[in-house]
Structures are given as C-alpha cells and as structure tokens.
Amino acid sequence: MTGSIIARDVRRGSTGTAWIPIAFFLLVVALMPFAIGPDARLLQRIAGGALWIAALTAALQPIERLVEPDRADGVLDQLLVHGIADETVAAAKIVAHWLTFGPLMLIAAVPGAALLAMDGVSLTRAEIALAIGTPGLAALAVAIAAVTAGLPRAGSLAGLLLLPLAVPLLIFGAAASSGTGPAALLLEASVSLLLTAGAPFVAGAAFRAART
C-alpha cells in the first residue's frame, strides 16, 4: 500500500499546478541580476547562495496542498483504519513530494545558473548540493505542512516555520555550492539526513494531534 500512496501523491502532485514552484524558482533567480546589477563577476560570486534562496522560496509554494486536503477529506483517517501507521504515510508523502519537486528543481537550476552567469564547474557543484539538500527540504515541507494543516492562514504560518528551520540547510548548501571544499557538503548531507529521518515522526505526531 505504501507504493500506491507514493504513486497517488506523485500523480496528484504532478498534475495541475506542479510547475508553480519551478516558475517561482526561476523568477526569483531572474530577479537577482535586476536587484544586484548585471556585473557577471559579482553575480558569479553570489550565484550559489542565490540559487538556494530561490529553492527555499519555491519549496514554500506547494505546502498547502501536501497534507491539508487529505486531512480534511478523511484520507489520513482511512489510511490509519486500513492499518498503515501515520509515520509510514508521512514517509510516503515525503518520497512522493521529493519526486515531484527535486528532479524539476535540478533541471530548473540549469537555466537558473545561466541567468547568474555561472560556469560549468560551479553549476555542477550547485547541482550536487541541490541533489543532496532537496530531500531534506521536501521532508521539512511535509512536516511543516502536517503541523500547520487545518489552521487558519496555514500558508503564511508555514513560511514562518519553514524558513528558520531551513537555515542550516541553507548555510551548508550555499557553502557547498560556492565550492568551499568537501566539509560543507558533508555537513549539508548530515543536515539533510537528519531532516529526512526526523520529519516522518514529526508529521506522524501532527497527524495524530489533528484528530483529537
């Protein structure tokens, strides 16, 4: 059944408005040259960090559709009645969310890098950092979506919760993108792993709390 939850979430996540986070990502990246000026050397210097800020704002976009529709419609209840633990459902949702978000983000980073005048080497570094960081970002998004599900103004609240919690990922991800050596990449990987491993339990507890 876990496989069919992933398949269902991927289908629902990749139809309709799946392109919005990606459009958002590219839009934020495209704003950088306007805000900072067209100086290619300056843009290159900030490119790694700029890509990460764009990725964080893009990660906020789908939050309201990750958990709340399933909670409101009783899908989470039925899954539990069918004997699937809340944590398992949350883990499946994280996998599905990454599948609809991570690969598209990696593709969008290519035109994004061009807008920031990045060369091939720094693009490769940024792609590796994004590939390692996006699972953690997806896990964090699902956990925050679960915690805020059903609350009024959940979208804004989710932003206030997600952005500070994503700071460690941002620091090490941006550092790894800028090529400060393998240490930043390792630290980024450990933060991403911590988020991915912890998020199903946070989200599962939030599913339960929403039922009382």
Partner: protein
C-alpha cells in the same frame, strides 16, 4: 465465541467534556449494534474510538481489522469512481453493484451527488474484507433504495460472521441490539 470488538472500562473525554465513563461493550460474530442518542451524545466519538482514530482516556479497546464509513468521502475527486475506490480495496465491482452505483464507474467523484457519495463510502466498506464494519450515520443522504441496499449488505455481512457497529439517530432496518448514549 471470540469477540470482534471489546471495550473494557472505557472512558472518553473530548474538549473537556466526559462523553462516557467505564463503558463495557462486546460485539461477536453475526452481531449488529446500533448506537443511538441525541446530537452531541458521543455516537461519532464512539465509532472513532472503535476505529482507533481516537484513544480512550482510560480503559482498553480490543478489535480486529475494521472498515469505516463516516461523513468524509476520502476519494480522489478528479478520478473516475471505479479508480478512486480501487485505491482502497481490491475488486470493487461486486460492492459497487450491491450499492447500485456500478453504472457510475466512469463518473468523476467530484460530480457525484451526496447520496451517490454515501453509497460510494459504503461500497468501500463492503469491498473491504474487514470483519468489523463501523458505520457513522449510514442512512444520511440515502434514499429508500439506498437504505434497502444498505440493509441487504449488512445482513449478508452478519450472515457471513461479521459484525457491525452503527451510529444512527434514526431506526436502522433489520434487527439490532441498541445502546443508548447520553441518557
């Protein structure tokens, strides 16, 4: 006789209000129990407690695998009914036939009327192989034909050794033990 559902000294409090205290309940194969009582007396909470969605404040709830039909549709609105139901259960054709919604298999869930949606949630229960059915207000939105079909799937389920716990403020068709709440 093994019981399919057993409450032992169960107390449930919701929103600071004690709904019931030290409740004992046992449901064996072939038994139907109707929970009755005025609005707000805790009928739905009892069903959610029996389904494991709520935890008892005190006491023990033992149960076998259950199937639940309540007010939530829990079907993907953009999918045709047959596909949406198939997510939850194996072969659903027989159950859709029994509830009289077989001809709706290609209709998207979002276009169903409330009566048809109710029949769909009951079809999910009928298609499950769970021995214990939990039905919360199963007659809501059903017409006379729907109520008749509900009665026939329930009697078939009871005859096959299953059990049904139903919460309803109106009389249900068939023979039921009754439990009055809020008195």
């Amino acid at each position: 006789m093994t019981s399919l559902l057993r409450f032992e000294n169960v107390s449930l409090r919701r929103g600071g209000r004690l709904l019931f205290e030290a409740m004992n309940l046992e449901l064996g194969p072939g038994e139907g129990l109707q929970v009755a009582g005025p609005n707000g007396s805790g009928k739905s909470s009892l069903i959610r407690l029996a389904s494991g969605l709520l935890r008892a404040e005190r006491g023990r709830v033992d149960r076998v695998a259950v199937a639940l039909a309540d007010d939530s549709l829990a079907l993907d609105r953009e999918l045709p009914l047959w596909r949406a139901l198939s997510f939850w259960a194996g072969p659903v054709d027989e159950a859709m036939e029994a509830l009289g919604i077989a001809q709706l298999e290609d209709v998207p869930v979002r276009l169903l009327s409330s009566g048809q949606a109710k029949r769909a949630t009951l079809a999910r229960v009928a298609a499950s192989h769970a021995p214990l059915w939990l039905l919360d207000e199963p007659l809501n939105a059903l017409d006379a034909d729907g109520a008749e079909r509900l009665a026939s799937i329930i009697s078939a389920h009871l005859a096959a050794g299953g059990a049904v716990l139903a919460a309803s403020h109106q009389p249900l068709p068939g023979v039921w033990r009754r439990l009055e709440l809020g008195r």
